[in-house]
C-alpha cells in the first residue's frame, strides 16, 4: 500500500469529522467529530513519517502531542457539556442560541 491509501483514509476521517461537528444534534457527537478531525491529522503525520523517513521520529512525536492535547480538550469540553446541560436542560446545540443581539 502506498502513501495515497493512508491519505485517502485520513481525508475520509477528516470529512466525517467536519460533517459530524456541523450536523449532529448532540454536543457529545460534536465532540466525537472533533476527535475524528484530530485523528485524521494524526494519521497524516504518522503516514508522512513512514514514507519520508528523513526527519527521524518527528511525526510520531507530533501525533503523541496531538493525542495528549485531544485528551485535555475532551476533559474540558465534557465539563463544559455538563455545565451546559445543567443550565439549559439539553445538550442540543440548537437550544443554545442566547449569545446573540
Amino acid at each position: 500500500m502506498g502513501l495515497e491509501a493512508y491519505l485517502f483514509v485520513s481525508l475520509l476521517l477528516f470529512m466525517l469529522g467536519l460533517i459530524m461537528a456541523a450536523a449532529r444534534r448532540s454536543l457529545i457527537y460534536v465532540l466525537i467529530g472533533l476527535e475524528l478531525i484530530l485523528n485524521a491529522a494524526n494519521l497524516n503525520l504518522v503516514a508522512f513519517q513512514r514514507f519520508h523517513p528523513g526527519g527521524g521520529l518527528d511525526g510520531q512525536i507530533g501525533a503523541v502531542f496531538v493525542i495528549i492535547l485531544a485528551a485535555a480538550e475532551a476533559a474540558i469540553a465534557l465539563a463544559i457539556v455538563l455545565n451546559v446541560y445543567s443550565r439549559f436542560g439539553s445538550i442540543c446545540p440548537d437550544d443554545m442560541h442566547t449569545l446573540r443581539d
Binding site: 467536519l18 461537528a21 456541523a22 460534536v30 446545540p93 443554545m96 442560541h97 442566547t98 446573540r100 443581539d101
Partner: protein, 640 residues
C-alpha cells in the same frame, strides 16, 4: 488745544451708565430700591461731566463753532493693526474720541434728557414688576447713545447704533413680560421696531462696507478730506459712492422713522411713556440724523436731493396723520416722525448743522412733551385717549405750564427754542438745494411749509383737548399733580424749551433773503395754525368732524394711516413669511430628509448583517466551512 487729561473725562461719560448697567444686571436684586439711584446717579454724573466739558468749549468764545478735540494723535486705539500698511489689504483701523462744536451741546442734551428720564421713571415706574430690568435697559440705552456721540468713526457709530436697536427692543417690549398685566401687543411692537430698523441697518452696513472699500477709512475727518480727492480723480461722483450714500441714508430711514419705514415708531408707543421720551428725544431716532450729519461728506448731490424730498414728504405726511389721532401718545409719535422729516430734509438741503440744531432743541421739548404726557397718563390712571381727557389745567398746573412751553416751542413760537431751529431748516429749504432753482428744487419748501401750520394745529389740538374745557371722564376729574421726582424734570425741560436755542454754538443761516422767507413762512404758519386750533378746540366755533367730512377721502386716508401698514404687510411681511415657510419646508424635507436618509441606510445595512449573528454555533461552523472552501478554491486558482 487738545489736552491729554481731557479724554479720560470724556470717556467717563458713556462708561458711567455702562457701569451702572453692569452693577444693576449683576447685583440689582440685592440693592435697595432695585438700584434706581445707581443708574440715576450715574446719569447725573455723566451729565455733570458733559456740562463741564460744554462750559469749557463755550469758554472758547468765537472759536467755539469750529473747534475740534480729537484723540487721534494722542490716545487713539489701534485696531486691526497691519505692519505692511495700506497696501496689504488689511488697513490700520484706528478708533478714537471726537468732540467738537456739534458734539458739545448734543452730548450735554442727551445726558441731561437721559438723566431727567431716569429721574421721572423713579416715580412713573414705581411698583413695576420688572423695575430693575427697566432701569438696566435705560442705562444701557444712554450708554450707547453717549458712546456713539463721541466716536470718531462710522464703524463705532454703527456698533452703538446696533446696541441702541437692542435696547429699544427690550424697552418697548418691557410691559410684554409684566408679571401682573402682560401686554402681548408690546411684544409685537418691539419685534416690529427691531425688524423694521434692521432693514435699514443691513443697508447701512453695506454702505459702510462700500465706503471702507473705497477709502480704507471710516474716520469722519479723513473722509471729509478723502472724498473731494476722489471726486477730483473721477471727475465727478463715482457710482459706487452714490450707492454707498443711498445705502447709508436707508439706515437712517429705518432708525429715524422716515417714510416708508416709519411704521415702527407709532407702535413703539406700547412701551412705557418715559421710554418713548427717551427714544423720541435723546436716543434712537436722533441717532439716524446724527449719522447722516456725520456722513455728510460722502453724500452725492443726487442722494441729497432724494434725502431732501423724502424728508420733507415725511414731515408733511406724518403731520396729516397726527391730526387724526385720538391717542395722546400717538399724536406725539407722528409729530416726532414729522419733525424728524424736517431734520432729514435739512441734511438733504445741505445743512447738517441745522439738522443737528433741530435734534438738539427737539430733544429738549419733545422730552418735555413725552414726560408731560407720561405725567398726564400717570395722573389719569393710565388713560391716554384724548376724548376722555380735558380740563387738566387747574388740576395739574405744573404739567400744564411745562407742556404749554414745549407745545409752543415745537409750534415755532418766536423766541422759543423750536422757532430758531425750524427757522434754519426753512431758510435752507427756501434757498433750494445746490443753488438750483425750478419746481423740483422748491418741493421741500412747499412740503415743509405746508407741514408747519399743520404742526401748530395738531400740537394745539392735543394740548387743548388735554388741558382745557371740562374733564370728559372720571379719571380726568380725579387727576392730581404728580410728585416731585416727576414734576422736577418737567420744569427743567420747560426751561429747556424756552432757552434751548441759546445753548447751541453754531447758528448757520444761509443768505438773508432765504432767512426772511423762512421767518415770514414760520410766522404765518404759526398764526394760521394757532387760529385754527383755537377756533376748533378752544372756542368750538367750528366742528372738526364737519371739516373732516368735507375733506372726505383725504381725511379717511389719514385716519387709516394711508394704508402704509397694510401695504407693507401685504407686499413685504406676507411674502417674507411665505418664503420663510417654504424655506422651512425645504429644510425639513430635503436637507433633513438627506440626513435622515443616510442614517436610515446605515441602520438598514446593519440590520441585514445582524441576521448573521443568530447565536447558533453550528451555523457559524457552516459559514467557517464556506470561508475555508473559498480560501481553498482561491489558492487552487492562484496555483494554476
Amino acid at each position: 488745544m487738545p489736552t491729554a487729561d481731557f479724554f479720560p473725562l470724556l470717556l467717563a461719560v458713556p462708561l458711567l451708565p455702562l457701569g451702572a448697567w453692569l452693577l444693576q444686571v449683576l447685583f440689582g436684586k440685592g440693592l435697595p430700591r432695585g438700584g434706581d439711584w445707581l443708574s440715576t446717579g450715574a446719569m447725573l454724573g455723566a451729565f455733570s461731566i458733559t456740562v463741564a466739558l460744554y462750559l469749557r468749549a463755550y469758554g472758547l468764545g468765537e472759536e467755539a463753532e469750529f473747534f475740534v478735540w480729537s484723540s487721534e494723535s494722542e490716545q487713539g486705539w489701534k485696531w486691526l493693526v497691519s505692519h505692511e500698511g495700506m497696501n496689504s489689504g488689511l488697513a490700520n483701523f484706528r478708533a478714537g474720541l471726537w468732540y467738537d462744536g456739534l458734539t458739545a451741546p448734543l452730548l450735554a442734551m442727551v445726558a441731561g434728557v437721559s438723566f431727567l428720564v431716569h429721574l421721572f421713571s423713579t416715580g412713573y415706574m414705581q411698583g413695576n414688576s420688572r423695575y430693575i430690568a427697566y432701569f438696566a435697559g435705560l442705562s444701557l440705552f444712554s450708554f450707547a447713545m453717549l458712546a456713539m456721540l463721541i466716536s470718531d468713526n462710522l464703524l463705532f457709530v454703527f456698533m452703538f447704533w446696533e446696541v441702541m436697536g437692542l435696547c429699544s427692543f427690550l424697552l418697548i417690549g418691557h410691559d410684554s413680560m409684566d408679571l401682573k398685566r402682560p401686554r402681548p401687543r408690546a411684544a409685537a411692537a418691539s419685534v416690529k421696531a427691531f425688524l423694521t430698523t434692521r432693514v435699514g441697518d443691513v443697508a447701512l452696513l453695506l454702505g459702510l462696507a462700500i465706503v471702507w472699500n473705497g477709502f480704507g477709512t471710516l474716520q469722519f475727518h479723513e473722509l471729509a478730506v478723502a472724498v473731494p480727492d476722489m471726486i477730483e480723480r473721477y471727475q465727478g461722483w463715482p457710482n459706487w459712492l452714490e450707492t454707498a450714500g443711498l445705502l447709508i441714508f436707508l439706515g437712517a430711514v429705518g432708525k429715524s422713522a422716515q417714510f416708508p419705514l416709519h411704521v415702527w415708531l407709532p407702535d413703539a408707543m406700547e412701551g412705557p411713556t418715559p421710554v418713548s421720551a427717551m427714544i423720541h428725544a435723546a436716543t434712537m431716532v436722533a441717532a439716524g440724523v446724527y449719522l447722516m450729519a456725520r456722513s455728510f461728506p460722502v453724500l452725492a448731490p443726487g442722494v441729497l436731493a432724494v434725502i431732501a424730498v423724502l424728508g420733507a414728504f415725511t414731515a408733511f405726511f406724518a403731520a396729516t396723520i397726527a391730526l387724526t389721532q385720538d391717542d395722546l401718545k400717538k399724536v406725539l409719535a407722528y409729530s416726532t416722525i414729522s419733525q424728524l422729516g424736517y431734520m432729514i430734509s435739512a441734511i438733504g438741503l445741505g445743512s447738517p448743522d441745522g439738522a443737528l440744531f433741530h435734534v438738539f432743541t427737539h430733544g429738549l421739548f419733545k422730552a418735555g412733551l413725552f414726560l408731560g404726557a407720561g405725567a398726564v397718563i400717570y395722573a389719569c390712571n393710565h388713560k391716554q385717549d384724548l376724548r376722555k381727557l380735558g380740563g387738566l389745567r387747574g388740576r395739574m398746573p405744573v404739567t400744564y405750564v411745562s407742556m404749554l412751553l414745549c407745545t409752543a416751542a415745537i409750534s415755532g413760537v418766536p423766541f422759543l427754542s423750536g422757532f430758531y431751529s425750524k427757522d434754519v431748516i426753512l431758510a435752507f429749504a427756501a434757498q433750494g438745494w445746490g443753488g438750483g432753482a425750478g419746481m423740483v428744487a422748491m418741493l421741500p419748501l412747499v412740503l415743509l411749509g405746508l407741514a408747519a401750520p399743520l404742526t401748530v394745529l395738531y400740537m394745539f389740538r392735543m394740548f387743548l383737548l388735554t388741558f382745557s374745557g371740562e374733564p370728559r371722564s372720571d379719571h380726568a376729574r380725579a387727576a392730581k399733580e404728580v410728585p416731585l421726582p416727576m414734576s422736577l424734570p418737567l420744569v427743567l425741560l420747560g426751561f429747556g424749551a424756552l432757552f434751548g436755542a441759546m445753548l447751541w454754538f453754531a447758528k448757520p443761516y444761509p443768505s438773508n433773503a432765504a432767512h426772511e422767507v423762512a421767518v415770514i413762512l414760520a410766522s404765518a404758519s404759526l398764526a394760521l395754525g394757532l387760529f385754527a386750533a383755537l377756533l376748533f378746540f378752544q372756542f368750538r366755533k367750528l366742528d372738526p368732524s364737519q371739516v373732516a367730512a368735507a375733506l372726505g377721502p383725504w381725511s379717511r386716508g389719514a385716519r387709516s394711516l394711508y394704508g402704509v401698514d397694510g401695504f407693507l404687510h401685504s407686499t413685504i411681511v406676507l411674502p417674507v413669511l411665505a418664503l420663510g415657510r417654504s424655506a422651512s419646508r425645504f429644510d425639513r424635507r430635503i436637507v433633513d430628509g438627506a440626513v435622515h436618509g443616510i442614517g436610515g441606510l446605515a441602520v438598514w445595512v446593519g440590520a441585514q448583517f445582524r441576521r448573521l449573528q443568530s447565536g447558533h454555533i453550528q451555523r457559524y461552523l457552516y459559514l467557517t466551512y464556506a470561508g475555508l472552501l473559498i480560501l481553498i478554491l482561491f489558492a487552487l486558482w492562484r496555483v494554476r
